[in-house]
C-alpha cells in the first residue's frame, strides 16, 4: 500500500501495466524525459526506454492514428492527449476509425488501445484547458469512456482499460490530480469497467456523478444530511460507456429522487442520457422530477470559472428541491 495522489496512481498504473505486459507502450507530447506536463508519465522513459515511452510530433491525429496501427498489430498503446481540449484533431481517428474498426471488419481487426487525457476545469485554464467533452465520446458507438474520481479507482480502472480488448477513452479529472491522497495497493489489481460505485450510502435521494464532480457531490450530500436529517446516496458512475444501466435504475428505484451532476454544458450532456434512461425505465418510482446540475451552455470562461463549475451549493439546492417536491 502507498498513499498516492490521483496522478501518482495513474503513473503507478502505467508502470505496473508496462511491467506486466511488454506490448504496453506510452506515446504522446512531452511524455518522455519530461514525464508529461502533469507528470503522469514521470520516470517511465528512464525505466522502460525510448521504445516503450516516447515523445511524438505535435499532431494528435498522428498520436491516435499511429496508436490504432500499433494496436491492430499486436501492441497495447496508451496514447496521451495533453489536454482533452486538444483531442479534436484526432476526432476523426477516434470516431471514424478506432471506434468502428471491429464492426466494419467483422471482428478481423481490433483496436485494444487507451487514450488518456486530462479534462475539466478548476485550474484557470480558460476555454481550451478546461473542457469536459465526455458526451461527444459516449455518443460514439464502439468507444468505451471511463472517468475515475479517486486514486484507487484511477489505477484499477486504468489497468482494466489497458487490458480491455476495445478502445477506451480514459478521462482524468485534472482538478483532482493532486487534490488528495488515498491508499493504493502496490502491484497489479483492476477495477472492472462498467461498474458504478456507491461512494455515500443513503436512501432518500440519489445523486449521480463522475470525475471531478464526485467530491463536490459528497460534500453536498453531507451538508443536506446534516441540515435535513435525510440520507443522500452518491453514486460515482465511473464508466460512462458502456454504462451499468441496471445499477442506475435499481438505485433510482431504491431512492425515488434523483439529481444528476456534470461539469460539462447542459444541453445534450451525459446527464441528459441518465435522465432519459430513468424517464423510460423508472418513472413509476420517481417521487420528484429529475434535477440536473451542470455547467452552462457557454464556452468555458477564465476569470469567472468558479461561477461556471457546479459547486456544492448548487448541488445542495437541487437535492433540497427534489426532497421538497
Amino acid at each position: 500500500m502507498s498513499e498516492l495522489t490521483l496522478v501518482q496512481a495513474v503513473n503507478d498504473g502505467l508502470r505496473v501495466a508496462m511491467k506486466e505486459d511488454e506490448s504496453v507502450l506510452v506515446l504522446g507530447q512531452d511524455v518522455g524525459p519530461k514525464g508529461g506536463v502533469f507528470l503522469a508519465t514521470d520516470g517511465l522513459h528512464a525505466e522502460f526506454g525510448e521504445d516503450r515511452c516516447f515523445d511524438t510530433p505535435l499532431s494528435e491525429d498522428g498520436i491516435v492514428g499511429v496508436g490504432i496501427g500499433m494496436a491492430m498489430n499486436g501492441m497495447k498503446p496508451v496514447c496521451e492527449i495533453q489536454f482533452q481540449d486538444f483531442i479534436f484533431p484526432a476526432f476523426d481517428q477516434i470516431v471514424s476509425e478506432a471506434a468502428k474498426m471491429r464492426y466494419r471488419s467483422g471482428g478481423q481487426y481490433t483496436v485494444p488501445m487507451v487514450i488518456r487525457t486530462p479534462y475539466g476545469g478548476g485550474i484557470r485554464g480558460g476555454l481550451y484547458h478546461s473542457q469536459s467533452g465526455e458526451a461527444y465520446f459516449a455518443h460514439t458507438p464502439g468507444l468505451k469512456v471511463v472517468i475515475p474520481s479517486n486514486p484507487y479507482d484511477a489505477k484499477g480502472l486504468l489497468i482494466a482499460a489497458i487490458q480491455d480488448p476495445d478502445p477506451v477513452l480514459f478521462m482524468e479529472p485534472k482538478a483532482l490530480y493532486r487534490a488528495f491522497r488515498q491508499e493504493v495497493p502496490d502491484g497489479l489489481y483492476t477495477v472492472p469497467l462498467s461498474t458504478t460505485a456507491t461512494v455515500v450510502e443513503g436512501e432518500d435521494c440519489v445523486v449521480y456523478c463522475w470525475g471531478a464532480m464526485v467530491p463536490v457531490c459528497k460534500t453536498a450530500a453531507e451538508r443536506v444530511s446534516e441540515s435535513r436529517g435525510k440520507s443522500i446516496r452518491v453514486v460515482d458512475l465511473r464508466t460512462l460507456m458502456p454504462l451499468d444501466e441496471e445499477a442506475v435504475i435499481q438505485a433510482t428505484r431504491e431512492c425515488g429522487r434523483v439529481v444528476v451532476v456534470q461539469e460539462a454544458p447542459r444541453f445534450c450532456g451525459y446527464a441528459s442520457e441518465i435522465s432519459a434512461i430513468l424517464a423510460e425505465n423508472a418513472v413509476d418510482s420517481l417521487e420528484a422530477p429529475i434535477q440536473r446540475v451542470t455547467g452552462f451552455d457557454t464556452p468555458f470562461p477564465n476569470t469567472l470559472e468558479n461561477y461556471y463549475i457546479p459547486d456544492a451549493r448548487r448541488v445542495v439546492d437541487a437535492i433540497e428541491q427534489v426532497l421538497d417536491y
Binding site: D30, P57, Y128, H129, P299, T303, L304
Partner: protein, 371 residues
C-alpha cells in the same frame, strides 16, 4: 549556416545590405524590442507574485516578432498570430495597458476575461486575430483572410505566425497547400525557437529545415537569422511585396531560441542543456541591434539607458492600472455566445446571477495554471 539570411552578426557588425529606411524605423524597432522584453519581464514577475495565473516567456525571440511587424502596413495587412508574439502588438501601438488587461482578465480585457492570459485579440489599431490555444488552427484561417483580400482585388497581405512544433499540426499543412493552390497573399512565419515545450526540433521533423517544407507545396521558403531584426525585416518585407504583387505565399523560418521556459509552469532546466543557453545568450537580439545602432550613431549610451528605463516604468504603470480594474460582470459569461442571446442562455444567466448574488462570496480572482 550559410543558407541563413543575416544582415548584422552577433557583435552588431554589418554582414549584409542594411535596409534603406529612415532612422526612426530603426529606433521604432529597437524600442519595440526593448518594450517587448520589459513587458515579458513584468508578466513573469506578475506570475511569480501570484498576480496573474500564467505567462509565456518571449525572451530571445523579440527580433522575430518586431522585424516581421515592421514590414507590415496595418492599414491593409492582417496578423493571424500564435501566442509568443508580444512584439507585433507593441510595435504597432497596442497599448501595454490593454495587453495587461488581458493578462489580468479584467473587465476591460478585449476578451472579457474569457481567455487565459496571453491569448490576445485586437481589432484596433491592427487586425490581430484572437489567439487560440489549439495549435495551428490560425494557419488555414490566414489563407482564407488572404483569399478574401484577393477576391476583392485588395493588395493586403496576411502574416501568420506559428512555432516549429506547430508545423506538425494539420493546420500548417492544409494552410500551406491551399496557399500554394490558390496563390494566396499569405506570409507564413515559423518561429523556430527549437522547442515545443520539452520536445526539441529534431523530434518534430526529419526535414533538413522548416523552410524546406515549402517546396512540397510550391511555396518558396527562406531561412532567416531570427535574432537579427534587420534580416527579419528584410525577409518579411520581401514576402509581403511578393504577396501584394500577386506572386503568392512565402514560408519564412526564423531560427531563434526560446530563452525561457515554455511557460511559467515549465522548468526548462530539466531538459535544456545549459551550454546551449549560454550559446544563445551570446546571440541576444537586443544586445546585437543595440551595438549596431551605437556603431551607426543612431543611438547613444544615454538615450539607450533612458529608453530601457522608460520601458520598465511603462510596463509597471500598465500592470498597476490593469490590476486595479475589477473582474468582468457575471452576465458577461453568457454574452457573445451568439449575437442574440437565446432564451435558454438568458435563463441560465438569470439563474447564475441569482444563485451567486444571494451568496455574498467573492471570486478567486487570481490563480495558478499548471502548463
Amino acid at each position: 549556416m550559410s543558407d541563413l539570411l543575416q544582415i548584422i552578426d552577433r557583435e552588431g557588425n554589418k554582414v549584409g545590405t542594411v535596409p534603406r529606411v529612415k532612422k526612426e524605423v530603426f529606433l521604432n524597432m529597437y524600442r519595440a524590442m526593448v518594450r517587448t522584453r520589459a513587458f515579458d519581464d513584468r508578466c513573469m514577475k506578475l506570475q511569480r507574485t501570484g498576480k496573474v495565473g500564467f505567462s509565456v516567456p518571449n525572451r530571445g525571440i523579440e527580433a522575430v516578432s518586431v522585424g516581421a511587424a515592421a514590414a507590415l502596413d496595418i492599414s491593409k495587412d492582417w496578423v493571424a498570430p500564435h501566442y509568443r508574439d508580444f512584439g507585433i502588438m507593441l510595435y504597432h501601438g497596442v497599448s501595454p495597458e490593454r495587453m495587461m488587461d488581458t493578462m489580468f482578465g479584467n473587465e476591460a480585457d478585449s476578451a472579457v476575461g474569457r481567455q487565459m492570459p496571453v491569448h490576445f485579440s485586437f481589432r484596433k489599431p491592427l487586425n490581430f486575430l484572437s489567439i487560440s490555444s489549439p495549435l495551428g488552427t490560425q494557419v488555414p484561417q490566414a489563407v482564407g483572410i488572404a483569399m478574401a483580400m484577393k477576391t476583392r482585388g485588395e493588395d493586403g497581405a496576411v502574416l501568420t505566425t506559428f512555432g516549429d512544433g506547430s508545423t506538425s499540426a494539420s493546420g500548417f499543412h492544409s494552410g500551406m497547400n491551399w496557399a500554394g493552390v490558390f496563390n494566396s497573399p499569405t506570409v507564413f512565419l515559423c518561429q523556430n525557437n527549437q522547442w515545443a515545450i520539452s520536445c526539441p526540433s529534431e523530434q518534430q521533423t526529419k526535414s533538413s529545415s522548416y523552410a524546406i517544407k515549402g517546396e512540397a507545396y510550391g511555396v518558396p521558403g527562406v531561412r532567416v537569422d531570427g535574432n537579427d531584426v534587420l534580416a527579419m525585416y528584410r525577409a518579411v518585407s520581401q514576402a509581403v511585396k511578393r504577396a501584394r504583387a500577386g506572386d503568392g505565399p512565402t514560408l519564412i523560418e526564423a531560427v531563434t531560441f526560446r530563452m525561457g521556459g515554455h511557460s511559467t509552469s515549465d522548468d526548462p532546466t530539466k531538459y535544456v542543456d545549459p551550454e546551449l543557453v549560454t550559446y544563445w545568450e551570446q546571440r541576444d537580439p537586443i544586445v546585437r541591434f543595440s551595438a549596431f545602432l551605437h556603431a551607426e550613431g543612431i543611438l547613444n549610451e544615454a538615450a539607450d539607458a533612458t529608453l530601457r528605463e522608460e520601458a520598465k516604468d511603462e510596463m509597471l504603470t500598465a500592470a498597476r492600472a490593469a490590476e486595479a480594474k475589477p473582474v468582468p460582470v457575471l452576465t458577461s459569461v453568457f454574452e457573445d455566445v451568439f449575437e442574440e442571446t437565446p432564451a435558454h442562455l438568458k435563463k441560465q444567466s438569470a439563474f447564475c446571477v441569482d444563485h451567486y448574488s444571494s451568496r455574498g462570496e467573492g471570486v478567486n480572482e487570481k490563480g495558478e495554471f499548471p502548463l
